[in-house]
Symmetry: C2
Subunit: 344 residues, 2 copies
DNA sequence: CTGTTAGCGCGTTCAC
DNA sequence: GTGAACGCGCTAACAG
């Protein structure tokens, strides 16, 4: 942080007082046009940039927003952050980005750091190991606007932006039922995550609403979205008779499963229909292409950032909850197959 | 930025001076164990967090690093940022992240903002519209450590971390040649980008080294990695005779092309062999799976951040250039096919 | 070991 | 319209 040239230097080199320079810089009205002009010229020549740290001390505002996500290298979160970034840039805010790596300790430490930086607001999607909400209560107590998105904590009193995962899963299962499936399995996400619970509930309710029995063996939770999914879907496939459809928590595991089934000599969508979740790029590329639930991640980011800024500006005092809609993207992995004419 | 509780409050509530509190906080040696203990207890009870802005004013150090990338929602850059984040977190730095959206004006404005925040260092991968290096010279002049990664500007005097795209492309083409291809086309990236030029040179040199003629019609530049690729590969496919292999600048366009060729009744790898670039998740999923050039993006991020911190800490005064190696990941899209036994 | 003083760079009263 | 003085929250230098 080298900014050798301060407001003093500008003032001295012009033989005027610092307060005049300060006024000229901030377009205050009580400065003569002449002096303002000379000041601004000098400022440019000297490459003077006001020191934010000093300004923050006075203004009690940093224009800094903290953003914490579980992981950065995921289509979902990088899209969301992209949305956040675009909105913040428009409003002259900068974002300090942290990834918790799904670790509550790191998350907590990051928040402490961010508080030290006097962020004007915080956007967070909590890690899957987060249960304690103490640190968030502290944020709220300090009157720092807080918006939780995607992965939220119900107990924290703040605005929240989520995706209607329940409806997403419901629509997926409904689609499968309409395709004639009756033994529909569900590879569920980590049990602690609210989004996993919501999706599972959507799955359960869809089955119920259509009069299908729930077979507990057809629902298997995985501990991690990435590493643990294969174990989980293999467990599902130990059912006898096999499910005629599986509803997944993400696209990659759905595709991994399709490949596995292929190797086992099963055909998709004929023998088993598959639905993913997310609409990642991979879902268009797999063979068969994957029916999946699209989540508006970029919009989640944009909306969250917008809400946060409104709260900072005092444009809204009450907290709000938004739930964005998903969209079922139907592709080949759930296509109808007339069994009688098909052989192989 | 509400932090009503300051060091004064702590001092007052304990009936001691602020400097004692300050000392206790920073584990200075000239404080009695007893007072330190009571101070720390009080600090916790009052939820006091030191004000970084004030500290920065003294220390002339913000522990803030600026990070600018062309886009956030890309496998490559989100991986790189993830690497940066992990390294910075270890060293107690925070990162302010900006995306230029490939727009030089935005890039420039972001840098100005970051300078205002008195960042201790800057990590940047320049936009493809960046030609002017004036703002970077200013950063260098202000003695702010700067590391460019992936997309660099040769003219700027700073440390640089790149991927050996030249060798990556060379290896890809060499692989195709060894597979017997002789009419190898290249879908090149935006002409202004150094990485596009390097990859093209690797392509050209490989052809030359193996005694193959370069056909200018077999090399087509696209203006954008995403939108413009289909136009470009269709132009390549207007060649008569058709190429027997195409070397792409990314995986998605390679896969789009494979699909297009399929619809046209051509078979891959039999009729045309395809190589991508990046090793994105999609490359494992396509049918046929895609041979591609893996770039160590996470490592690029880690290394860049490490270099920057060393420079900030004064551990290294000279600028260095690192060029990380790519790895050719061979999959089905370039598999050998014995033509005589194959029919379709 | 602890308290007092000064000053980091800037904005904001006040006088003039 | 302009300048001097004060304070934002904190640390460093100096006393004691």
């Amino acid at each position: 942080m080298k900014s050798p040239v301060t407001i003093k230097d500008v003032a001295a080199s012009l033989g005027i007082s610092v307060s005049t320079v300060s006024r000229a810089m901030r377009n205050a009205k009580d400065v003569s046009e002449a002096t303002r002009h000379t000041v601004l010229k000098k400022v440019k020549r000297l490459q003077y940039h006001p020191n934010y740290s000093a300004q923050c001390l006075i203004n009690q505002k940093t224009n800094l927003i903290g953003v914490i996500v579980p992981v950065l290298h995921s289509n979902y979160f990088s899209d969301a952050i992209s949305g956040i970034s675009d909105v913040l840039a428009e409003s002259n805010y900068q974002m300090i980005v942290c990834q918790s790596n799904e670790n509550y300790k790191i998350e907590q430490a990051s928040i402490s750091k961010l508080l030290g930086y006097n962020i004007d607001g915080l956007l967070i999607s909590v890690s899957k190991s987060t249960k304690n909400d103490k640190i968030f209560k502290e944020v709220v107590n300090r009157n720092i606007p807080l918006v939780m998105f995607d992965r939220i904590l119900d107990s924290v009193d703040c605005s929240k932006v989520t995706v209607d995962e329940y409806e997403g899963a419901y629509k997926a299962v409904e689609h499968l039922i309409k395709k004639g499936c009756v033994r529909i399995a569900h590879l569920a996400g980590p049990q602690d995550l609210l989004i996993s619970q919501n999706r599972k509930q959507g799955y359960l309710d869809a089955l119920n609403d259509y009069g299908l029995k729930v077979n507990p063996n057809m629902v298997v939770h995985c501990k991690s979205f990435e590493d643990d999914a294969p174990r989980a879907f293999k467990k599902i496939l130990m059912n006898d008779p096999l499910p005629d459809a599986i509803c997944f928590i993400n696209d990659q595991s759905a595709i991994d499963c399709m490949k596995y089934l292929h190797r086992k000599g099963l055909s998709i969508p004929r023998d088993i229909k598959i639905v993913g979740f997310n609409n990642d790029p991979v879902s268009t590329v797999s063979d068969p292409s994957l029916t999946t639930v699209m989540q508006p991640s970029y919009e989640v980011g944009k909306l969250s950032a917008g809400l946060l800024i409104d709260e900072i500006d005092g444009k809204r005092t009450r907290h709000v909850n938004y739930e964005l809609r998903t969209k079922l993207v139907v592709r080949e992995s759930t296509k109808s197959v007339r069994q009688e004419t098909k052989k192989d």
